[in-house]
Chain length 237, copies 2
């Protein structure tokens, strides 16, 4: 690992996954793949667009780039890819709309990326939830999901932040790290595939400065979106 500084992509992703014991998700024909989360997932999608696999409904963030990879790699699988992320969401807000925006779609694969706002909004929006709120709410959401769809394949993406970039200052630490750890623990508890996005970005900043990958510490640049998509693709196959 002494040559990390000169790692080219996609070795960054491989390096970040090297210490992970990733349970890869196998995709089947006609699978419905749902991406859920906050602004990072939402990324300008048109809330009125209901068709899968369309630019309008996928937005233009990591979900679009990941959908591009998936649809290109598996043309024979007839995948149906949806994005139902909504900017600003915390776990309890996913729960508020879970029947319509998750369960009704009957996903075979459900990818969730949530947790940044569950912490960030305690600093900026007067949100009073804690790490325990996050953990309790996340458990409830997944219990409800498993009850409705026992066979759904879960992918849990690590919440991440890029320290020192604009919005992300010392006040984030060490508390924010608890949210990352919680997401990882929950992935293990629910036998979900975990996508270690913080590790991926931590490796990436050894190849280019943090602002190359992230606009404000929270929201990825196009380079960061592409990195997320590549990391997500490590979870399937």
């Amino acid at each position: 690992m002494g040559t990390i500084a000169t790692l080219a992509l996609p070795q960054i992703v491989s390096a970040a996954f090297a210490n992970e014991n990733i349970k890869k998700v196998e995709l089947n024909k006609d699978d419905i793949i749902l991406f859920q989360g906050d602004s990072i997932t939402d990324w300008g999608r048109n809330y009125s667009a209901t068709q899968p696999n369309s630019t309008n409904s996928l937005g233009s963030g990591y979900v679009l780039l990941t959908a591009g990879h998936l649809l290109l790699k598996y043309p024979e699988k007839n995948l149906h890819i949806y994005n139902k992320g909504i900017s600003g969401n915390k776990v309890y807000q996913l729960a508020d709309r879970w029947d319509a925006d998750c369960l009704a779609l009957k996903p075979n694969v459900l990818s969730i990326h949530i947790g940044v706002n569950d912490f960030w909004h305690t600093l900026t929006n007067g949100y009073t939830g804690t790490i325990d709120t996050y953990i309790t709410d996340y458990h409830k959401l997944l219990d409800r999901t498993k009850q409705a769809s026992p066979n759904v394949k879960l992918i849990i993406c690590e919440p991440f932040a890029l320290k020192g970039v604009k919005a992300v200052d010392d006040k984030w630490y060490p508390t924010f790290d608890l949210f990352r750890k919680a997401a990882r623990d929950i992935a293990t508890e629910y036998n979900a595939t975990f996508v270690p996005l913080q590790s991926v970005f931590d490796k990436a900043v050894e190849s280019a400065p943090a602002p190359y990958w992230n606009l404000d510490g929270v929201h990825p640049s196009v380079a960061g979106e592409a990195l997320m998509a590549q990391a997500w693709m490590e979870a399937v196959g």
Copy 2:
């Protein structure tokens, strides 16, 4: 080539390029890369956004997906990627805005994808330009470009259409094929890198039906955008 029907991606792209003698473009540090063209290039970009490498300015089509690939693959190169495609454009309309939307940006790499409307609008919009208009206008545009920027590296993307999908009926042929051939000939004349997109889509429809790759015969689906991005990436390196 007898196993084309079972080709997985990205072998489709390799197969399409197999008979091409592609002059690969080498990218340098701080390169300015400009994508020019019509709606396929434009794809919802915000005309007010002037920053390179941003989702707003790149749109959400093949340019965004290609930019993702480039920024992820070459983090050390500090690339500046612009999209100045405008929906509906034909070659003469590129010329009308070339000073501001091309020459002023001083691109090191200029990728042009133009020609579908130069034919299509003769069927739908009463446009009276011919194949000779296309060839003459394209020559003039490139002569002007070479005069202003003798060292610019040119990438010419083949205009393509997916026969039998909605807008693209028998009336397109054989005339539309002349535009494809003209773009290829012009690439040779100007020592440009040619991206054979029609060949790529022709291979792709052996893996999934044409509507999987294209919405109306002209505008790619997300799968088609991803395919274009992968094909474009074959032109560099």
